[in-house]
């Protein structure tokens, strides 16, 4: 390969995504200095399995961020997904069959409320998703307090979250791969995906070009809600039970993963590969910090510091001029 060709290949790669993957390699190297098991296939597969829960949630978050909006309802929509699917499991054989779709459908419903608020009522997404989060929390408090529902997950949920079918590849990772593939297809190959990018760049222009922007926004939020809830279903299967605070640790990592992957928080720019890199990066960082037995406070400080440092590397904008 000549230098010219090399330059062309490097020039085509998105600098943000390249940096994110570079950081992943650097993290693994730092980890392997500490213990050689960081490079073992078992450890890496285990990390990818843990990453797939965040990956599913971050996929929905990415679509919303591409619109130039944000979804702050992750914590309780995840909990709704987990808790409603386990509750459905308690209804008997039919409920067990319907558990997963029912959990996801509840998330889609909440996403629809946010979407209608953003698209038709023009409420800022930051505030309407907060309100939907509060409503979801209220619903779940009434649900657990009033009816004492079943909270253990169904066989199927456990199977897709913890089982593995071929060569020890975890099912959760396959699920993430399927959802990721669908997201890539949706964003790159459909009119819906084009419309999402167009709205993120300038909604006015997208509207004038004949895009039904409001319907696109509603669908995007519904997808995000459904994926958050599906993340909750997977988490409930992984832990074999659902709990109220199960979604709390996923709000900030989901946003951080999308942004570290080079997607502009202002919308309109970003690729799914970047989100994959961001998700793996965040999961590895959390794992390495806990394996090194750094105390919890230190983990928070390093976690925040690393996010800022990486954003300073490649997330900077132009000066206003």
């Amino acid at each position: 390969m000549t230098t010219l060709q090399l330059k062309r290949v490097i020039g085509q790669a998105d600098p943000a995504i390249a940096t994110a993957f570079g950081c992943i390699v650097a993290l693994l190297l730092v980890g392997s200095l500490y213990s050689s098991s960081f490079l073992s296939p078992e450890y890496l597969l285990q990390q990818l399995k843990v990453a797939s829960f965040l990956g599913v949630i971050a996929t929905g978050m990415m679509i919303v961020i591409l619109l130039g909006q944000i979804d702050l309802s992750v914590p309780w929509v995840v909990a709704v997904g987990g808790m409603m699917s386990t509750a459905a499991t308690g209804w008997g054989p039919a409920g067990e069959l319907l558990a997963i779709p029912f959990g996801v459908a509840c998330g889609v419903g909440l996403g629809l409320v946010s979407g209608v608020g953003v698209a038709y009522l023009r409420v800022p997404s930051m505030i309407i998703t907060l309100a939907v989060n509060a409503v979801a929390q209220g619903l779940m408090v009434v649900h657990t307090g009033g009816f004492s529902p079943q909270d253990s997950s169904s066989e199927a949920m456990r199977y897709i979250a913890t089982g593995h079918v071929l060569f020890g590849v975890p099912n959760a990772l396959l699920v993430w791969a399927l959802i990721g593939g669908a997201a890539v297809y949706l964003l790159a190959r459909t009119t819906f995906g084009r419309a999402v990018y167009a709205i993120g760049n300038r909604e006015r222009a997208a509207y004038l070009s004949g895009v039904d922007t409001q319907r696109t926004v509603v669908i995007a939020f519904a997808i995000a809600g459904g994926l958050s809830a599906f993340g909750g279903v997977l988490l409930a299967g992984y832990a074999s039970k659902a709990a109220q605070a199960m979604g709390d640790p996923y709000q900030l990592p989901a946003i951080a993963a999308v942004v570290l992957g080079g997607t502009s928080i202002l919308g309109g720019r970003g690729r799914y590969l970047g989100t994959v890199a961001g998700v793996i990066l965040i999961t590895l960082l959390q794992s390495i910090l806990s394996v090194m037995q750094i105390e919890e406070f230190g983990r928070h400080v390093i976690y925040g510091g690393v996010i800022i440092a990486m954003l300073l590397l490649y997330g900077r904008e132009q000066w206003v001029r």
Partner: protein, 352 residues
Amino acid sequence: MNRGGPPEADRSDANATLSSVAPGLPESDWGYRLREQRDTLAAFVGFAVMFSIYIGNHPAGLTANVLTTASNKGVLLALVAMAQTFAVLTAGIDLSVGMVLVLANCLASYIVVGSGLTTALGVAGVLLTGLLCGAINGAIVIFGRLQPIVVTIATGAIYYGLALALRRVPGGDVNDSLAGALTGQLAGGVPASIVALLAVVIVVWLPFRRSVIGRAAYAVGSSEIAAYMSGVPVRRAKFVAYTLSGLLASMAGLFVTFITYSGEASAANGSTYTLYSIAAVVLGGVSLFGGSGSAIGAVFGALMFRTIGDLLFVFNLEPLWQPLFQGVVLLVAVCLGSARLFRIRNRLDLFS
């Protein structure tokens, strides 16, 4: 003026308009001022209505104790809401206010103790820490050229880590007499906390609003590019806004310490306060797009939000339903703002 019609009619038209405006000038001035403060006034009216319902149904009625309890809870949220207002006015956001509050709370439970002098030094130390946290946020947002939403999420994690380093388990102490004085009543049953809040508004907000920097913050929020082109000190305004946001958040943390007499590094508390601060700011008529609203509106928004939460108790509904009720009220309240859509004539204005 030159519309090609009969010139005389034109001139008389113009005269008529002039003569009708001239004596009415003071009136139109007042009308303008009222319109400018419309959102703040709406927040005040909303709070007054809610609070009347609350007091009207309270079993004890309007006593000094009921008022003090309500005031202490309200002032706490009002301080966080004011902190959020500074960042939101510049079209930014500060998602670390809750964590600065928690950090200030943990720090105060160590250093705001002992004699009068050490307590005073402790209070100064806590406020300086808040100021520093805000300054760091501002510096990263301005010189790092990053989006405030992700920056403050990340710095929030750092501040929370520091708080956790200070207080792994809840505990600590605070100067009793100072805490008692600030959360108690003054002569005549006036809650001391509401007076303290008034003092903060007079000492911090009003000078800011009337200064060049304050006006610059509004200008930056309306349009950063236009502000830059007009020679407004854009960076200084943003920096001061984020710094003051940190200061106000640390005041709220100090107040938490006075109420609980201890420090606790609770991530749940931190994120709850951050979320509530945004809700209060929106209820108080401060635009999340920046450039309009005032901290006084945010204060009434915070008081209103607190009263909504307390309404359930006076109506004897099950506490189980309180989170749902609060959520639904919040959802309805934020959707009320979309009434402005009825005034839109051109569909394109939807997307501006």
